[in-house]
C-alpha cells in the first residue's frame, strides 16, 4: 500500500510542478506576497498629512505646533490662511486632518482658561480617523502635562500609567506578520488541493484512478500529501522570515507551533479536497475555493477582532480552522505559549481535520456520475 500511495504522490507532484508556470505559481507569489504584505499590512500610522490653520500669534500655539512638527507620526502638508481653504484640503484627501487654533489661544492659556484646538478630520476611513485622533490626543496630552507644570496649573489628581504586555511598543507588525504565516499557508494549501480532484474529473482521469486497485483512503492520502508537504515547507519558511527578516519576537515553544501547523494543514487540505471533489468542473472548484477562502480569512481575526462581530457571526467562526491557528501562531510568537496552554485550540482543529478528511474520502466514493 505505501508503494502505491507513493506513486500517486509522485504523480501529483509531477502534475503540480510539471511546467514552469505552475512551478512559479506555487513558489513565487507567496514569497512576494509575504514581503509586500508584511510591510503593507500595518495599522500604525506614520506621515499623517495634516494642515494648520493658526489664528493665534502667541508663543503657546507655536510651541504646540512645534510638538506636532517634531512627531514622526505627523507630516505637515499645508498652512491654511482662511476658513474656505479647509474644505478642499479634506475633500481631496490632501490632508487627513486640519488643526485649527483660535485667535485667543495664548491669551486664554496665560489667563489659566482652557483653550480648545479644533481637529477637523476626514472620517471617510473611520479606523484611520480614530487612530489619528488618538495620536493627536497623545501629543496634546504631553503638551498639557508640560504646560501645566511650567505655568502652575496644578497637578492632575491622577494619571494613567499604561503598559502593554507582549508588545510593549504596540507595533501592529508583530500582530499582522504571524497572521500572514497562517494566511499564506491556507492560500497555498487550497491552491494545491482545491482544484486537483476537479481537474481529474473534468479530464476524465479520475475514473481511471478509481478503477485502479487503490482504495479511496489511499487516493485521499496520495492527494493530501503534496498539499501537506508544500504547505508545511512554505509555512516553516514564512515563519523563519517572520523571525529573521521582520524581527518579530519568537518566545514560545517551536514544538507547539509545529503541532499547530500540522493540525491546521490537515484541516485545510481536507477542506480543499472536499471542495475539489464536490466540484464537477474546475470553474466550480475555483468558486468553491473562493467561497471558503474569503470568509475564512475575513472572519478569522486576521485583521479585525472576532470580539467585534455580532454573536451569530462569532458562533460561525468556530468552524473556521484559521481562527484557531491564528491564536496558536500569535500565542507562540508573542505570548510564549507552550503545548498545554494551546490545548483549547488544538482539539477543535483536530476535529475539523478529522471531519473534513472523512467527508473528502466519502465524497471520493459517492460523487460518481
Amino acid at each position: 500500500m505505501p508503494a502505491r500511495i507513493w506513486a500517486l504522490v509522485i504523480k501529483e507532484f509531477l502534475a503540480l510542478l510539471r511546467d514552469k508556470k505552475s512551478r512559479f505559481v506555487l513558489i513565487g507569489p507567496p514569497l512576494i506576497q509575504l514581503l509586500v504584505f508584511g510591510y503593507a499590512a500595518t495599522f500604525d500610522l506614520s506621515h499623517i498629512p495634516y494642515a494648520v490653520y493658526n489664528q493665534d500669534t502667541g508663543f503657546a500655539s507655536r510651541e504646540l505646533l512645534g510638538d506636532f512638527q517634531g512627531s514622526p507620526a505627523f507630516q505637515q502638508v499645508a498652512t491654511v490662511e482662511n476658513e474656505g481653504q479647509i474644505a478642499p484640503l479634506i475633500d481631496d484627501e490632501k490632508a487627513l486632518l486640519v488643526l485649527q487654533i483660535g485667535p485667543h489661544f495664548t491669551r486664554d492659556l496665560l489667563l489659566h482658561r482652557p483653550a480648545p484646538v479644533q481637529v477637523i478630520i476626514n472620517g471617510r476611513n473611520s479606523n484611520t480617523a480614530t487612530l489619528a485622533l488618538n495620536y493627536v490626543n497623545t501629543v496634546l496630552l504631553s503638551f498639557d502635562t508640560r504646560w501645566a507644570a511650567d505655568h502652575h496649573w496644578g497637578r492632575p489628581p491622577a494619571q494613567l500609567v499604561v503598559r502593554s504586555w507582549f508588545n510593549p511598543n504596540l507595533l501592529s507588525r508583530w500582530f499582522i506578520v504571524p497572521g500572514i504565516v497562517a494566511l499564506l499557508m491556507l492560500v497555498v494549501t487550497l491552491l494545491v488541493t482545491g482544484l486537483s480532484v476537479a481537474r481529474e474529473r473534468e479530464q476524465g482521469t479520475f475514473d481511471q484512478l478509481l478503477v485502479t486497485p487503490m482504495g479511496p483512503v489511499e487516493i485521499l492520502v496520495g492527494k493530501a500529501l503534496p498539499g501537506l508537504i508544500i504547505g508545511a515547507l512554505e509555512g516553516c519558511f514564512i515563519a523563519l522570515v517572520a523571525v529573521f527578516w521582520f524581527q518579530v519576537p519568537f518566545v514560545g515553544s517551536i514544538l507547539a507551533l509545529l503541532v499547530g501547523m500540522a493540525l491546521f494543514l490537515l484541516a485545510a487540505v481536507g477542506i480543499g479536497l472536499m471542495i475539489s471533489s464536490l466540484a464537477v468542473t474546475q470553474q466550480q472548484g475555483l468558486l468553491g475555493v473562493f467561497l471558503f477562502l474569503v470568509p475564512a480569512i475575513i472572519l478569522s481575526g486576521f485583521a479585525t477582532p472576532i470580539a467585534n462581530m455580532p454573536e451569530l457571526v462569532q458562533d460561525l467562526t468556530y468552524i473556521n480552522p484559521m481562527r484557531y491557528f491564528l491564536v496558536i501562531v500569535r500565542g507562540v510568537f508573542l505570548e510564549g505559549d507552550n503545548m498545554p496552554m494551546l490545548w483549547s485550540q488544538y482539539w477543535p482543529l483536530a476535529l475539523i481535520a478529522i471531519f473534513s478528511m472523512s467527508a473528502a474520502a466519502w465524497l471520493f466514493r459517492h460523487r460518481m456520475q
Partner: protein, 371 residues
C-alpha cells in the same frame, strides 16, 4: 468586426453560462453572500471590551472612576479581588486589559500628589490595544472634568482637542468598510468570471474550432467580455442596493457617477481575468493565478482596511498596480463625501489606463495560432 458574428459568439457564451450555473452564482450569489457576511462580520468598533478591574482599597474616589468605566459602552468591567487573579484572566484571554487602582490611590490624591492609575493592556492586537488606550484616556479626561466641576476647582487640562469628524461623524466603521468591500468583491467577481473562460476553450480544444471559423481574435475576446460585463454590472447594482438599503450606508454622491466608475473598474477587472486566462491557457494554472492576484492584494493593498499613506514608500508604489485601490478611493468618496471631482477623475483615469492595458495586452498576445 462583424456584428452578426459577434452576436453569435455572445449567444454561445450565454448558453454556456446557463449550462454551468457557477458563473451565475459568481455574479449574483457571491456579492449577496459576501456582503451579508462582511457587512455584519467585519467591524473595527470595539464594544464591551472585557477589562479586569482591581481596586485595592475601595473608596468614594475609586468608585467614581470605576463608575465611569461601567457607564461607557466600550467596556465591560469585571471586578477581580487581586492582581494575581486579574493577571491570570489576562493570560487566559478572558480580559483584554487590567485597570489597577492601588491602595494608596485616594491617599495620594488627598495629599495633593498625583496618584497613578495602572493600566495593563494585552498588546498582541496592537490596533485594538491602541483603540482601547484611547477609550481609557477619554474616560480619564471625563473623570477629571467631572471632579473639577464638582469641586468648583479650575480644570487642569489646558488644551483640549475638539474633534470635527467630517463625512462619518459617528465613526461607524461599517460606513467605510461596506463601500470598500464592494471593491474587493467586484475584484473577485470580475476576475473569477473571466479567468477560466479563454483557458477553458484552449484546454477543451474548442479554441481550435473557433479559429477555423472566420471570426477574428478581437471578436472572440469581445464575445467573452460583453456577456460577463453585463453579468458583472448586475452584481455591482445588487451590491450597491444592499449597501444602501440593507446596511444604510449613505450614498451622498450621484448614482450615475458611481455607475460609470463601476463600469470602468469592471472593465479593468474583467480585462485582468482575460489576460490571466489567455496567458495561462490552462484552467488549473489560471485558477491558481486568479486566487493569488485578486483577493489578497485587493484586501491588503487597496486601502480598504490598511492605510496606504502609512505604508513604506516602495510598497506605496506597488499599490498603484492594484486596480481595487482606485475603486476603493472612488467608492468611499462617492458614498460618504459626494462627487469630489479631483478624486473621481484621477482615479477614473487610472482605471481607464489599467483597463486599456489589460485588454490591449490580451489582444496583442492572442493570435490566431495554435502554439
Amino acid at each position: 468586426m462583424n456584428l452578426q458574428r459577434l452576436r453569435g459568439l455572445i449567444r454561445k457564451e450565454f448558453i454556456q453560462i446557463l449550462r454551468d450555473p457557477s458563473a451565475i452564482a459568481i455574479a449574483f450569489f457571491m456579492p449577496v453572500f459576501l456582503l451579508f457576511l462582511f457587512g455584519y462580520g467585519v467591524s473595527l468598533d470595539a464594544k464591551h471590551v472585557p477589562v479586569a478591574v482591581v481596586v485595592d482599597q475601595p473608596t468614594a474616589e475609586t468608585s467614581a472612576f470605576v463608575g465611569g468605566l461601567q457607564q461607557s459602552p466600550y467596556f465591560e468591567p469585571q471586578i477581580y479581588t487581586s492582581m494575581h487573579s486579574a493577571r491570570q484572566a489576562l493570560m487566559a484571554r478572558k480580559a483584554d486589559g487590567i485597570l489597577w487602582l492601588r491602595s494608596d490611590f485616594s491617599r495620594q490624591m488627598l495629599q495633593g500628589n498625583t496618584a497613578s492609575i495602572g493600566v495593563l493592556i494585552n498588546g498582541v492586537d496592537a490596533n485594538n490595544a491602541r483603540i482601547l488606550e484611547g477609550y481609557l484616556q477619554g474616560i480619564w479626561q471625563n473623570w477629571l472634568q467631572q471632579r473639577a466641576l464638582n469641586a468648583g476647582a479650575p480644570l487642569i487640562i489646558p488644551v483640549n482637542g475638539e474633534d470635527r469628524i467630517w463625512f462619518n461623524p459617528a465613526l461607524r466603521s461599517r460606513d467605510y468598510l461596506v463601500p470598500g468591500l464592494i471593491a474587493v468583491i467586484m475584484t473577485l467577481i470580475g476576475a473569477l468570471l473571466t479567468a477560466l473562460v479563454v483557458a477553458r476553450e484552449w484546454e477543451r480544444g474548442t479554441m481550435e474550432a473557433l479559429m477555423a471559423t472566420p471570426v477574428t481574435m478581437s471578436e472572440i475576446l469581445l464575445g467573452k467580455l460583453i456577456p460577463y460585463f453585463i453579468m458583472g454590472m448586475g452584481g455591482m447594482l445588487l451590491s450597491v442596493a444592499l449597501a444602501v438599503w440593507l446596511f444604510a450606508v449613505p450614498l451622498v454622491g450621484s448614482f450615475w457617477v458611481l455607475l460609470a466608475c463601476s463600469a470602468l473598474f469592471l472593465l479593468a477587472a474583467l480585462g485582468m481575468g482575460l489576460l490571466i486566462s489567455s496567458v495561462a491557457r490552462n484552467q488549473f494554472v489560471a485558477g491558481q493565478i486568479a486566487i493569488i492576484v485578486t483577493f489578497l492584494p485587493a484586501f491588503i493593498l487597496s486601502g480598504f482596511i490598511f492605510d496606504i499613506q502609512s505604508m513604506p514608500a516602495a510598497i506605496r508604489i506597488i499599490t498603484h498596480i492594484v486596480a481595487a485601490r482606485y475603486f476603493v478611493s472612488i467608492l468611499q468618496t462617492i458614498f460618504l463625501a459626494g462627487d469630489v471631482w479631483p478624486i473621481i477623475l484621477w482615479n477614473s483615469l487610472a482605471l481607464l489606463l489599467m483597463a486599456a492595458f489589460f485588454l490591449g495586452v490580451t489582444l496583442r498576445r492572442s493570435h490566431k495560432r495554435l502554439d
